[in-house]
Symmetry: C2
Subunit: 340 residues, 2 copies
């Protein structure tokens, strides 16, 4: 049996998690975002709100729109533009989730049946496109070319990242550098865009926008590494999060990449069979976890994530101390030390 | 007075440094490269060999061509193509050094007068171009389009990196992310190209080329961070390396960026005066070192470098154990823990 990585701060046991504290700090804005999500996924075509509602309601952390709301607040903005833009960010994210599940042929997302499993691939593709279009509509309504530039570029880079991921999927020789380039594109660029918007909306100097870009991109990389760690580490009975999805799909993530590079030829034959040929038998996932354990691949993946977390934290240094800055700093720790 | 960062392994005290051991392992090839360097910098135009000789002879570590020679050997190649290509890599590096010194208006490089100080800016620019052309000539003589693609791209990315560096120079609000992007372009891409060539010449599978790219890019990032640390940390009387060049030029490097992000408004006023306005007085460099010390910026910069070093080391995991692999692993440690 593989072991679960001991996490240094059992944040879940605190009465409120950093995520909840951040939500509390921007609760009115978050309520407005949730309202706008419902409103903008309405459609005469009955399957659209149903499918969009399924994925948006199914328990995401709303982390990306929260970052937009929090970074806007951090920049001292008092208007209302950030609500539309945070919604746009969430729509871009949701659209990529829908398309992702089709590409991965996933049957489950966050423990519930995935949209494509329930509604079919075609509907998932098209509703993803619908959400992308709604996202662009919201940006255009906002009317700032700077914001459009940042978000449109992020959307393009995400697609590039997904294609790049498709190219490296099931290639057990994937390098760590290629992995980092994939997660930077598919995850971290949207985090960076979500954060930069705060400085753009508040018309802050370029240095603040750069600081928030640095914060977002490095938080995003850390977030994705930890997500990939949890897929090998999660104790399903304890956290409710299913594990082993990446293994089953042959997705090349950091824990496997490190184990492969540190293993011997026999082990690489195992990884080639399971991840490249997707020829998987009973006990293979447990064996994969044991190898990952033996090579300290989860611990070292988390250490890699901590490096990016440290860069993200330093990036907020030039903003004056405030509850919102503290909440954002705590989110970095939470992102890395979370168990779900 | 600022203190010198204690380095964990005083490698200089070993009888042979990892760099010397690596040179020993490829000594015949290295002699051939040195011969070819002399031969290809010959010219009727007397100033060309004199100026090229000045910079090439002035004590560089030959690290980049060494990487090409060592990675080629690591891949089991037995032919002679790598000698020309390693020379090409050194010419690209030397050309950028020449142009760099003109851009930076440097008077010294590695403790001796810089080429532009001795021969004038115009000659440095033109001899840099001469070396670039010679580098391309050597690649073309090699005749592999794959190699040409990798080296030509690296040369283009270096130029991009230099321009990006020019844009961030004297901007005391430079983000850590922008810094990382600059050093990746201006330093790490050539390291990556130098290493990849080994797999290309030996016609190894794409996975080996990817592994060497990962090795090179991360070693290059670590190398540049440590170079930038040494410019604040070096004890000139002990190491012979001058320090404070980056500070005097207002170059934005990681130690300063971390100190700025961790400092207060008064400190940022100091950095703005010294690095942005280049209004520097007696004692300013010592004060800068004290601030960097107080914020643990050298230690944490080295920790950042160690992260990239760890990625570089893991990248070599799939190559069979050999003296040359060990020497390359030791070079990673040497790069990070060196004092010069």
């Amino acid at each position: 049996m593989a072991t679960v990585v001991p996490l240094r701060h059992p944040l879940k046991t605190l009465s409120t998690s950093p995520l909840e504290r951040l939500k509390d700090l921007v609760s009115d804005d978050l309520a407005a975002v949730n309202q706008l999500i419902l409103q903008r996924t309405e459609s005469q075509v009955e399957i659209i709100p149903r499918l969009a509602g399924h994925i948006i309601a199914s328990g995401g952390k709303r982390l990306r729109p929260l970052l937009t709301l929090a970074c806007t607040r951090l920049c001292g903005y008092e208007g209302a533009r950030h609500v539309k833009l945070a919604t746009s960010v969430e729509f871009i994210h949701t659209a990529t989730l829908l398309h992702d599940d089709v590409v991965d042929e996933s049957s489950f997302r966050r423990g519930t049946p995935s949209a494509n499993a329930l509604f079919g691939n075609e509907a998932s593709v098209l509703v993803g496109d619908f959400l992308f279009s709604r996202a662009f509509e919201l940006m255009v309504e906002d009317g700032s070319l700077d914001v459009l530039h940042v978000l449109a570029r992020a959307a393009a880079v995400i697609s590039e990242g997904e294609v790049l991921q498709l190219m490296t999927a099931n290639d057990s020789t994937t390098s760590e550098q290629a992995y980092l380039e994939v997660i930077r594109a598919k995850t971290a660029e949207l985090f960076a865009a979500a954060c930069r918007i705060g400085a753009l909306v508040a018309r802050r100097p370029a240095a603040d926008e750069e600081a928030l870009r640095t914060f977002g991109i490095n938080l995003g990389i850390a977030f994705q590494i930890v997500d990939d760690v949890l897929d090998y580490a999660s104790d399903q009975t304890r956290t409710g999060k299913t594990s082993g999805n990446d293994f089953r799909e042959g997705k090349m993530t950091l824990p496997a990449i490190l184990a492969i590079h540190r293993g011997d030829d026999d082990e690489r034959t195992f990884w080639k069979r399971t991840l490249e040929n997707i020829d998987q038998r009973d006990g293979d996932f447990d064996h994969a976890r044991a190898l990952i354990d033996q090579h300290r691949a989860l611990q070292d993946s988390l250490d890699r994530a901590r490096h990016y977390g440290a860069i993200a934290r330093d990036a907020l240094g030039t903003f004056p101390a405030s509850p919102i800055r503290q909440a954002l700093l705590d989110i970095v720790t939470f992102t890395i030390e979370r168990e779900f």
